[in-house]
Symmetry: C2
Subunit: 365 residues, 2 copies
C-alpha cells in the first residue's frame, strides 16, 4: 500500500457508510464522518480518518455502543449534564454542544458537561460549531493517560485539549485548539516512523527522565512501563512544566470529575487485560458576545486584535506571525480543492473496511 489522494466528499461518504454498517444510526454516523474528515481537511491527520479503525474496534469490543442515544440527566435554562451511555463520542459531543448553543442563544450562556462518553474526535470541531451562530464556543475533553505530572514517573493524565473559537468579520474566526502536553502522541509516532530523535523535553523514559527516543516512549506508554509525554512547559518546573500539568488537570476536573465521568488513569478502554468503558468526559460552553455589546462591534474588536498581531514586528529570521486556526483554514481550502492525502497505513485500514463491509472507496489517483 502507498499514499493515496481522495476527494473529501468520497472520504466522508465512505466513512459514514462504514459506521452505519457497524450499527451506527445515520445522524450519528454523519457526526463521526464529518468530524474525522474536517480534521483531515484542516491538516490534523492525527485525528482524521485513521481513527475509524479504533472506532470500529471499540464497537466490536463492546465499549462503544453504536446505537444508543445520549440522555439529559439534569438541566436548567443554562446548564446541563448529559449521560452519553457509552455511545459514540461524536454523537454525544454534538448532542452536548447543540444543547449549549441552544441555551447560549436564549440566555447568553450555555454550559453542558457530558459523561460516560467515548473519544469525540478533535476538540475544535465542537468549538467551531458555535461560530455558525456568531457565538464563542469552548470545548474541552479528557482523554487516555499519556502525560506525566511534574516530578512523576507514571503517565496518569491525558493530553486533555482546550479549544476556543471566536467569531471575526474581516479576519477569519480565531480558533485555538491545543493539547495541554508539549506534543500529541501523533508527533512521537511521526518521528519514530522517520527514525529521528525527538528533542529533549518532549517525553520521559521508564525512569522518568527526558529522552530522545520516541520508539522507547511509545512502547513504554503502551505497556505501562513508566514515563510518557511531558506536560506543556516540559520537564520539571524550570520552564513551567507544572503549568501544563495544571492545565491538563483543569480540563480533567471540568470534563471528568465534575460531570461524574472517569478521570485521570481510568480513561482507558482496556483495564487489567479486559475491555473497559473509558467513560470519557466532555465540557462545552457557549457565550454570546451580543450580551456584552453589539455583535458587529465585538467582531470588529476581534478583527482589530488579529490585525495587531499581523502588524507586529517579526523576530529575526521569522518571516510570518500566525494566529491560531489560520494554518488550518489555509490547509482546509487547499485540501478541499486538491484532495485529502492519506498515508499508507490509513489507506490499508480503509481498504480493509471496504472489503469487510462490501463498500466502495473511490480515490483520486
Amino acid at each position: 500500500m502507498s499514499e493515496r489522494l481522495i476527494h473529501w466528499k468520497n472520504l466522508y461518504s465512505f466513512v459514514k457508510r462504514v459506521m452505519m454498517k457497524c450499527g451506527v444510526p445515520e445522524e450519528s454516523a454523519h457526526h463521526v464522518a464529518d468530524n474525522l474528515v474536517v480534521s483531515n481537511l484542516r491538516g490534523i491527520d492525527s485525528h482524521g480518518v485513521g481513527r475509524v479503525k479504533r472506532y470500529v474496534g471499540g464497537i466490536k469490543d463492546g465499549y462503544i455502543i453504536p446505537d444508543i442515544a445520549p440522555e439529559v440527566v439534569k438541566e436548567n435554562s443554562v446548564l446541563a449534564n448529559v449521560d452519553a451511555r457509552n455511545g459514540v463520542g461524536q454523537n454525544a459531543g454534538m448532542f452536548g454542544m447543540n444543547l449549549a448553543i441552544e441555551n447560549g442563544r436564549k440566555e447568553g450562556i450555555g454550559l453542558v458537561t457530558v459523561f460516560n462518553s467515548n473519544h469525540y474526535g478533535f476538540a475544535g470541531y465542537y468549538a467551531m460549531k458555535a461560530l455558525e451562530h456568531d457565538l464563542i464556543g469552548i470545548s474541552l475533553t479528557n482523554s487516555e493517560p499519556l502525560v506525566v505530572p511534574t516530578f512523576a514517573k507514571d503517565a496518569i493524565l491525558g493530553t486533555n485539549p482546550i479549544s476556543i473559537a471566536v467569531p471575526g468579520s474581516r479576519n477569519r474566526p480565531w480558533v485555538m485548539d491545543l493539547a495541554t502536553s508539549v506534543v500529541p502522541r501523533g508527533k512521537l509516532e511521526v518521528y519514530d516512523r522517520l527514525g529521528q530523535k525527538t528533542p529533549l523535553g518532549w517525553a520521559t523514559d521508564e525512569r522518568g527522565i527526558s529522552t530522545e527516543d520516541p520508539a522507547k516512549v511509545l512502547n513504554n506508554v503502551l505497556h505501562g512501563y513508566g514515563g510518557g509525554i511531558l506536560p506543556l512547559g516540559g520537564e520539571g518546573e524550570l520552564h513551567g512544566g507544572h503549568k501544563g500539568y495544571g492545565l491538563s488537570m483543569m480540563v480533567d476536573v471540568l470534563s471528568g470529575v465534575l460531570s461524574g465521568s472517569n478521570f485521570g488513569p481510568d480513561v482507558i478502554f482496556r483495564k487489567e487485560g479486559a475491555v473497559n468503558h473509558p467513560r470519557v468526559g466532555h465540557f462545552f460552553m457557549v457565550l454570546d458576545p451580543a450580551f456584552f455589546m453589539g455583535i458587529d462591534a465585538f467582531k470588529k474588536r476581534m478583527d482589530d486584535y488579529i490585525d495587531l498581531l499581523y502588524k507586529c514586528d517579526k523576530a529575526e529570521n521569522c518571516p510570518r506571525i500566525y494566529v491560531h486556526g489560520e494554518k488550518e483554514f489555509e490547509m482546509h481550502d487547499k485540501r478541499a480543492k486538491d484532495g485529502v492525502p492519506l498515508d499508507a497505513k490509513t489507506v490499508e485500514s480503509l481498504t480493509g473496511f471496504a472489503d469487510e463491509y462490501d463498500e466502495e472507496i473511490e480515490f483520486m489517483d
Copy 2:
C-alpha cells in the same frame, strides 16, 4: 535598609491605613490590603505589598480613581458585565466575584466580566473566594504587555493568568494560579538582582532571539526596544510556544475583548509619555458542583484525584509530587506563624509611606 519580618496582621492594618489616607474607602482598602497580604502569606511576593507603591502612584497619577464604585451595566440571572469606572482593581474584582458567587449559588453558574479596571492583585485570590461556598471559582485577567507572540519581536500580550480553585475535603482545595508565560517578570528581576544568567527559552532580546541576560530584557521591555518574556512553551513552536501564546490570547479575549475593556498592547498606564487608564479587564466564573452531584460526592472525587497524584511513582531523583496550591498553603501556615519576610526594597517603600502618611509600621525584628 535591610530585610525585615512583620506579622501579617500589622502588615494588613498598615497597608489598609495607607490606602485610606490615599482616599480609598474602608471596604475597598480592606480588599487591597487583604489581597496583597494573602499573596505574601502564600509566598507570591511578586504580587504582595511591594505593589503598594504602584497603587499609590496610580492614584497620584490619576489613572486609579480611589473612591469610585463599580457599576453593573448589563445583567441577567447568570451573566453580568461590570464597569469598574477606572477604580481600584481589587474593589472591582471583589464586586465582580461576589456577584458571580451570588448567581452561582442560585443558578449553579455565575459569570461576570469587568471592564475599565486596574491591576487586581493575584488571580487566585478571587478563585479561592468561591471555596468558602463550596463552589468552583475561576478568575482570569489581562495585564500589561510583556509577552511576545510566537515569531514576533514585540511584547504585545500580558502574562494573562488563569486561576481555578476547586473544593476538596480530606485534601486541601486544588488551587491553580499560573501566568500563561514561561515565567512572570518578577522571576527575571530576581535573577537580575542576583547577577545570574536566565535559562535560554525564558525571554527574547531586541532582535527577538532567546537571551540569557535578564537586565537587558527588563530594560528593553521598559523602553519598548523589542523582545520580552516568552509564552509558556518557549521560543518558536518546537516545544509548544504557540500554545502559551494562544492561552494568553484566550484570557485577553474573555476578559478584555468580550467585556469591552482594553486588550493587547493597550493595557498600559503610560502611553506616548502621558498617563493613561490601562482599562484592565477581568473574567470571573463560578460553578456549583452540587448541580452535578452531591457536594460531598464531588469533594470525595477531588480527594481521590489528588490521592492518585500523591501515589504516583516519582521520577528518578524527584522526592515529591506537588499538587497546585499545596506549596502556597504550606507557606501560608508558616508565614502566618513566623511572620512575613519583606525584602529591603519593600521595607524602604513601606517606611517611606509611613513617614509620608504619618502611620506607624510595626516590625517583628
